[in-house]
Amino acid sequence: MPLSKGNVLVPSRKRGASTSLNPRRKLKVPYLFIFLCMLPWILGFILFTAYPVAASFYESFTKFNLVESPKWIGLENFHRMFFDDPDFWKAIKNTLWISVISIPLRIAFATFTAWILTKPTRGMKFYRTLFFLPAMVPTVAATLSFTYIFNPAYGTINSILESIGIKNPPFWFMDPHWSKWGLILLGLWGIGDTMIIYLAGLLDVPKSLYEAASLEGANSWQEFRYVTMPLITPVIFFSAVTGIIGSFQYFTQAYVASGQVRDYSHSMYFYATHIYTEAFRAYEMGYASALAWVLLVITLLCTLVMLSTQKRWVHYPNGSLFK
């Protein structure tokens, strides 16, 4: 019989408990066989993950142009990054902008969309599928479509805006001041994957709590603020952390959109674009590796900061996952 600890089920370790169901006792597979089964993965990990990671760490301290052997230059790449590379700061600025604006917007939009989808009693599955569909569209195709429908000359969006009386609608991807907003809207349109997590979180909130709140005279906002919000904070925390990581790796949409409109102004030049440009256009693999490692450190620091704040605002029914 499993023992209950809180509402978490843990396996029984009582002496004399039935052993016929214990898989460990029945498993008599030699360790060598297990190792051989794992070997393809281990080899793949060493060759395609561990070695490249180690090599990139070493190369971040070198000048390496792909053809000549890497030349050790110590911390020069890191010095260049912070003191001698205006594109680095441009990329950081753009990346921070998209992070600061898009992450809260995505959280709010995903929560709102998920909340709406908890409401219908008829056609619920249809609506949920409908809202999730954009998330299934390949990123490149979605971005190309967006640059088309947001085209200031023949795009649908500006036609609609003009028809409702907006005289000079934005030039979206073609205007350095509006291009990132185009990307934000693209991200919100494809919110389906995040929305599903929020939907699960919302559906997990016990109905009894709403009934209790209702009996106490809480209105809809109070129900959301004092019942729903606290109970979905783990979901918000999760999507914030993954959002930060994702926004620092933001690449495909920006690369495709800037290629479509020939964004020489670099308004859609993000950190990952900078890594790509240095590695595959300037052939500066050493510098690109240094940029990648700084990205790792920045992402790690942001995640640690988020983790350190969670005690104050994230409510886990059974305590923190990260205790």
């Binding site: 142009n65 053809v67 001698d84 200031p152 023949y154 030039f171 020939r262 020489y264 256009r281 300037a282």
Partner: protein, 458 residues
């Protein structure tokens, strides 16, 4: 007796087999294999391979493996892995500086200058071609066909506006465009005379073209960037703004820029007949030579000949140049072309040289390829060949390639045209109105390019 006979037969057979094995082995030892990686495919690759077959026939000791559909990134990855091709072909001269300086392509100076097997490059190739195959004294590349830039103009629209001849100066270009540009009822541009906007028509008009029209220099004789010191750049950039203000904004740059941005947004694909030039949305258009294949062919198969019923009634002329320098600049252009080099790891340098020299100088290959790809040949002999077939409208491109004043800017140790990108980025900021002092901005761009070169050269 029978036994003796059998022994004799066996001995003779053994000797014969051994002899054949020895002959085969020695002939195999004498044969050298050379691999050539090129981006060609379909008909281009067939022509290329046919020429290679002729080469193999003329050089029995050399076996050539030709790999098509290989872009330079693939060849570079192979060179990096130590398994690179003996000869690789790159589209354009954008990486020549980088290939030469890193040694990805071998220095060919000694081979070219050899009195017996070398090439007298000044006699064989046009001047511009010799400019873009050398970087800082190291000639590591040989050319293969060229890619001149010229001005296409819509004859019907020009005639309608009262112009019988194309513009030859930047001043004329502005005056023509004022008359050619029309607006619809909303005030949006309906037909543009000419669009001097970086990013329009993909790479149709770049900082390189703008500088070309004003004879602006990229580098000084010592190889340091000249963007900040050559006053022609400032004139060129100011002309661009004046053009946008006067032609599209009635004298107001901001107004002209906004209208032009909307016009650019509505451009058709430059790779089809729904593009702005074939549809008459733009009357004057700057582009590379191979666009002629599209403009000549109503079926969009990019076939230049016979070009007797083109979907648009067009002409070709050299790019207009600033009036003050017309006598020295007009008719010439800064143009590039495909380049090829011998890879770092080749073990058969002599044979690779023999082949690359053949590919770069064989008149039949140059002519056949030029006729197929509509790119003018890169040798003087092929440019003058009677077998070179083209319609009359193509001739200005041949003249641009032949022009002794045509050239290419110095090629320094930068990868993938990063120097040109620097200036294109500045041009984008300038045309967007976010740069107020072009002199200072050009000096900054110059310094940035100098930094890239210095860093790479360390």
């Amino acid at each position: 007796m029978l036994k003796k006979r059998l022994i004799a037969i066996f001995a003779i057979s053994a000797l014969t087999v051994a002899g054949q094995v020895a002959v085969t082995a020695s002939s195999e030892a004498a044969t050298k294999t050379i691999t050539v990686a090129s981006p060609w495919h379909d008909g281009g690759l067939e022509i290329w391979n046919a020429a290679i077959a002729r080469f193999e026939k003329a050089n029995p000791g050399i076996n050539v493996i030709s790999k098509g559909n290989q872009d330079m990134a693939k060849s570079l990855a192979d060179i990096n892995a130590g398994t690179g091709p003996d000869i690789s072909v790159a589209n354009g001269p954008g990486n020549v500086g980088w290939f030469c300086a890193t040694g990805a392509w071998k220095n060919l100076n000694k081979l070219i200058n050899s009195p017996t097997t070398g090439i007298k490059i000044k006699d064989v190739f046009p001047a511009a071609v010799n400019d873009y195959t050398i970087s800082q004294g190291n000639r590591c590349a040989l050319p293969f066909t060229t890619e001149p830039i010229g001005m296409f103009y819509n004859k019907d629209l020009l005639l309608k506006a009262g112009f019988a001849k194309p513009p030859t100066t930047t001043e004329e270009l502005l005056a023509y465009s004022k008359k050619l540009t029309t607006f619809d009822a909303n005030g949006d541009i309906k037909t543009a005379g000419f669009v001097p906007w970086v990013g329009y028509n993909d790479y149709g008009f770049t900082a390189n073209d703008l500088g070309n029209m004003f004879g602006a220099k990229w580098y000084k004789a010592d190889g340091t960037p000249a963007l900040g010191s050559d006053p022609q750049w400032v004139k060129a950039f100011n002309w661009q703004r004046t053009f946008i203000a006067q032609v599209f904004g009635g004298g107001d740059f901001a107004k002209g820029k906004t209208k032009l941005l909307k016009f650019v947004a509505g451009a058709g694909s430059p790779w089809g007949l729904n593009g702005d030039f074939p549809t008459g949305r733009a009357a004057i258009w700057i582009d590379a030579v191979w666009m002629i294949g599209l403009f000549c062919d109503p079926t969009e198969n990019w076939v230049m000949m016979p070009c007797n019923k083109p979907p648009v009634n067009f002409g070709v002329a050299p790019m207009p140049v600033v009036g003050a320098l017309k006598s020295s600049l007009y008719g010439a252009a800064r143009y590039g072309g495909n380049t090829m080099g011998i890879g770092r790891d080749t073990k058969n340098v002599a044979e690779a040289w023999k082949l690359i020299k053949f590919l770069a100088t064989d008149t039949q290959l140059q002519v056949d390829f030029a006729n197929y790809a509509t790119q003018p040949p890169s040798t003087i002999a092929a440019l003058n060949s009677k077998d070179l077939v083209y319609p009359a409208v193509y001739k200005p491109f041949i003249d641009i390639v032949k022009n002794k004043r045509s050239g290419y800017h110095k090629i320094m140790f930068v990868a993938e045209h990063l120097d040109e990108d620097e200036l294109n980025n500045l041009m984008a900021a300038w045309q967007a109105g976010t740069v107020s002092n072009i002199s200072t901005a050009l000096k900054d761009a110059s310094a940035n390019i100098a930094t890239i070169i210095a860093r790479n050269s360390k």
